[in-house]
Subunit: 243 residues, 2 copies
């Protein structure tokens, strides 16, 4: 009989048995931004019946780690970057979702400035990792297309509420780069003047007193995001970050 009769967390003792144990994996949707394009880091899949498709990057959960730790391990393995932004997306537990057997997966998404990534990349060739434009992705292996959709929805929401977008831009950026980023990720168009006024009003951009170099037009001013001030405002409840 199932545990339906008991309905109590206290009755689990008899159930911690092999028949009710599952493999757990963690899949990472790694978003990157470069040249006004939103991209995802994918790997070739060669597992039947998905040969030829691409998949997200995932590994099995190990015995002594949390799912978050597993996600960080995966990120470090394939990007050599630490301290990346990381957010949980959802759990995917359809019994038939994986051809090798019952694997419940936790999806996370993470954000990278591709320029930074390129500097740290180790052996992408070995791992067959590739940045693919989000708009070109349509048939991933397993249920990864669904995971990607969920992750992107989550990203679109969070990017409006928290300053996570700055994780996907170079440390020094122009206001127009910033605007292009939001327009790309949110798939909207915004008025340049209104955008600038709003962002400057937040009081969280540091004017670096520098300008672009090597551009064949009037060079734009460079800014960076004031994470310190953001944290302070967050703590004292003054914050109102809304794009």
């Amino acid at each position: 009989m199932t545990s339906s009769k008991t309905g109590n967390i206290n009755t689990w003792l008899s159930h911690l048995q092999e028949e009710t144990k599952f493999s757990i994996s963690v899949d990472c949707v790694i978003f990157g931004y470069d040249s006004s394009k939103l991209k995802v880091l994918l790997i070739d899949c060669n597992m039947p019946p998905y040969e030829g498709r691409k998949s997200l990057i995932g590994e099995l959960l190990e015995a002594k780690e949390t799912t978050t730790q597993a996600a960080r391990r995966i990120l470090k393995n394939c990007t050599s970057l630490k301290d990346l932004y990381l957010e949980e997306v959802s759990v995917y537990s359809n019994p038939d979702r994986h051809p090798l057997g019952r694997v419940v997966t936790l999806a996370y998404y993470s954000l990278i400035s591709i320029a930074d990534y390129e500097k740290h990349i180790v052996d992408a060739a070995n791992k067959r990792l590739e940045w693919i434009d989000l708009e070109d992705i349509n048939k991933l292996a397993f249920d990864h297309q669904e995971i990607l959709t969920d992750a992107y929805n989550r990203l679109q929401r969070t990017v409006r509420e928290k300053p996570i977008g700055f994780s996907m831009l170079p440390k020094k950026f122009t206001l127009i780069q910033l605007q292009n980023f939001y327009e790309t990720v949110l798939n909207i168009e915004v008025d340049r003047r209104n955008f600038r006024r709003k962002l400057m009003a937040l009081g969280l951009l540091i004017d670096l007193q520098e300008v672009q170099d090597n551009v064949s037009h009037r060079p734009a001013k460079l800014y960076s995001f004031d994470f310190e001030k953001y944290k302070q405002k967050q703590n004292i409840g003054t914050l109102n970050f809304e794009i």
Copy 2:
């Protein structure tokens, strides 16, 4: 060696072994609303070292079900209600979180009109289930206090964006009941006139042309929520539900 070397979903074959399998549970935070109080359905915990505390209601995931299905099974077992609102909260996977061993849990929250629940309640006495005022809950068993906090944050957010609050009210309600509900859940006070104007402007409340009974003052008009119209507006993108 760990799977770190492989980093590829395709290399999992060798890992679907007992040593990397886990018990998975699903815990439900069941919120109920009654008499201007937000409550949670809890059960007594008698597992060391948490004897005497209360815990959320949870069961182990079974072999052939998704976590969502497990959550619905739990809800049906302890409330006899179907089609309740259900939303995923998060995963909790600290290796030491459960005294019986490694149990990774998925938390969901659900919403109930306690008045409706009372009608369907079967054997709450047997199961030692109890509605506890949210404000009186402070030391749950396991990591359930953390889960509850996360679930409540999620509820507060979602209740502003979607009409889930109506799941916690009687089918016929007065505008003041509705206002009290939002004030309680969001822990804010709102102006009565502004609240009414906003809600009526949504065009989603049906005036039932009935009034309260047995009240020793001017009886209030009764309304119900127009779920049909809401779905339509959602589909054609006309929707702007924001409290």
